[in-house]
Amino acid sequence: MSKTVVPLHQVSIRFAGDSGDGMQLTGDRFTMDTAILGNDISTLPNFPAEIRAPQGTLLGVSSFQLHFADHHIQTPGDAPDVLVAMNPAALKANIKDLAKGATIIVDADEFITRNLTKVGYVTNPLEDGSLDGYKVHPIALTTLTVATLSELNLSRKDAERSKNMFALGLLTWMYSRPTETTEKFLTGKFAKKPDLLEANLLAFKAGWNFGETTEEFSVSYQIAPAKMPAGKYRNVSGNTALSYGLIAAAKQSGLQLFLGSYPITPASDILHELSKHKKFGVITFQAEDEIAAVGSALGAAYGGAIGVTSTSGPGLALKAEMIGLGVMLELPLIVIDVQRGGPSTGLPTKTEQADLLQAMYGRNGESPVVVIAPSTPKDCFAMAMEAVRIATTYRVPVFILSDGYIANGSEPWRIPGEGELPDLRVEFAHTEENFMPYSRDPKTLARPWAIPGTKGIEHRIGGVEKADQTGAISYDPTNHDFMVRTRAAKVAGVQVPDLEVDDATGDAQVLLLGWGSTFGPIAAAVEALRENGQKVAQAHLKYINPFPKNLGAVLDRYERVIVPEMNLGQLAMLLRAQFLKDITGYNQVRGLPFSTTEIIEATMAVLSD
């Protein structure tokens, strides 16, 4: 039977199943196979906080969405064109998100009364006509997988566990992806478990062959490579890019990298990643708690290392006092907050941007820090180096506000050459007569980075207010006022790049202004609006404290400024306070990134206002 191959420009696929079904792995593999073909990609993993939530329930559904295209794309896609649902729960939890007429591939074996009842289906959706608007492919994935592996000496349970590879093989065929990378991956992963290696390889190939031979599928698809700048590429998640950026910064500065961290979702992968790279001299210290994590980082910074701590919102709350000490000691300190839904424990595995004000003001006293925010997964690499540049130049705590969306999401990244990396070398204080630990560089207002082991500059510092120059304890009213203002002026004077505005026609009256991880959906919305003849400008803040120097002028240029953020208006509040500019907020805290459609609709409402 000869099958038709249909060219497509883009597809969004969501793999969904139980949290134990291996959907994240399946999605990751499909992403890699796709990246190698040169498509542009954006991914969205979405999983429950429970490691193994009750099987077959809506609570336990884990999914991985992948958008790939023959052109530049910004988001994982609002509405998947394809859903792979490993059980009724996965179908029920995801059906509402699908595009009209979407393709649904389900494991028909799982659609038995017990599983249907568990998620509240009274009748079988595969039979009751409720999926009539969709292209449904009920496939006995479990039976087929078990039959494929019947020759092997495996328990039924172990055989069933390979059904995600069967599904992956099928999708690999359907979208004309290469098989070699997944085969190579499996060979590495199961090198020490030949039984499981054979099972996974067989299931994967059987899935591919099933697509090729069965009459269930008459067409497969092809998506041509996207046009991207020449170079060597890899796929990268935000947490990995952030870790690599820190290692690169250590190399470019000649300093040791020290991470003090306490495990917390969704930041733990930074600890895991950096722990792997001891050959770069990286020290990772899993501390007894969040406070010790940042405390050890500050101690390491005092000794001349790049001191970093990584956490999420609840951990940041615990670190507040130590960060205040960092402000007082005026030492370089990097604080990474991979934001998640709050308050309190909140939504550990879901994304949110509601720690902005905590980062800005969550300490006692006038306690200014630098706050920067990467905009996409790959941007985390450059922003990690920026954090090191600012922290070591100005000797100040620098916050990197990432979030669950870009931390776990991934996209292709053109690997920079070493010549493209910034020079981050620093100078420590030298031996000198009458050393003044709180003297300042007139340009940066930074005090000397005076590390132990340097003869003749022994001195004492602490959290008590210090006299200008000498650093001795001082309760003098005028001195305190001066020091508070000086610390504020130092942070306000940090050099950051001007805000770039993308105003295609130059006469837009509405500006969409975002920060952090909302870049993708906003950019996709702006693209779509312009295709529809709308005039909108876009700008994205990666530097929040201090703001870019031209921000006030940019705001003045537009009649209306819309700020979409995944909180109840925290950046909008800062903008109003600093610039007396009216801001139209667009706010959602659903634990999910914005969809492009939402932002288009919010913008249209303003445009037609």
Binding site: M32, K279, G295, S296, P452, R460
Partner: protein
Amino acid sequence: MTDVTLTKKDFTSDQEVRWCPGCGDYSILSTVQSFLPTLGLPRENIVFISGIGCSSRFPYYLETFGIHSIHGRAPAIASGLAISRPDLTIFVITGDGDALSIGGNHLIHALRRNVNLKILLFNNRIYGLTKGQYSPTSETGKVTKSTPIGSLDTPFNPISLAIGAEATFVARSIDTDRKHLTEMLQAASAHKGSALIEIYQNCPIFNDDAFIAVKDGETKGATLLQLIHGVPIKSETHGVIMENGSMKVVELSLVSESELVVHNANNPDPSYAFALSRLSASELDHVPIGIFRDVARPEYSTMVNQQIADVIAKDGAGDLASLLASGDTWEVK
């Protein structure tokens, strides 16, 4: 470093010492300033890190590097410094509130890891800087500003706590006994790993004479059970024997010298040092003084840096370009 000859004066900073008149901290400071030159180390390689409380002002008065940090967190800051700078000699200065209440977590974890920190715990059994509330070492029933009809808390025994936290070196000394305190400081400094010295310290304002029993010339001889490695454990009037598997203090006149427990600070079994630590309670009838425990265990920062050195020796130093290009990559022409 053998050519370094410094004096007490070299370790005295220009800051005016601001403790209350008669405070036990003065004598500890003086003893430490006299002791530091004996280390033979350059001043710039010594760091004192403290938390919050009266005792935590200590670093200001020493001409070394120093951080007066925040309440309870000195061991955490010091751990980060020790791990990244194993070339430094680091002391932690803390009090009973700082180390055992707000900072209890950091203390126990520094001890179990065996980070190379010398922790001097000034125990005055009271909160001084906040003007007289009971502390986690105050005796039950203590009447203070926050416990007007007596505290209900059971106190910590800092020595027992440290041993329970897997400490490799634990000792007790007294603020005014310069000779003994100096010996303890020397032994702690010679120990590779974390060392905790509990120092009984008098607060003349809020808890005066709390340790009179171990200081008064009339009583101290009978109260202090001297812990000297290889020597029977005894005071002038009492000794320690084993009875039914437990340690017990008895009058020397009732037993022969050969029945006394001969002190072994290197005993690998922590229950031995723990039993010793239980011989004294709040009432200070019989107080062991000296080194309870001094055992060898690999030091934490040495191991951390050894792991790194081993990986580099095996795989070579990291190459950034190959790290960035690790995993699956593809070329776009």
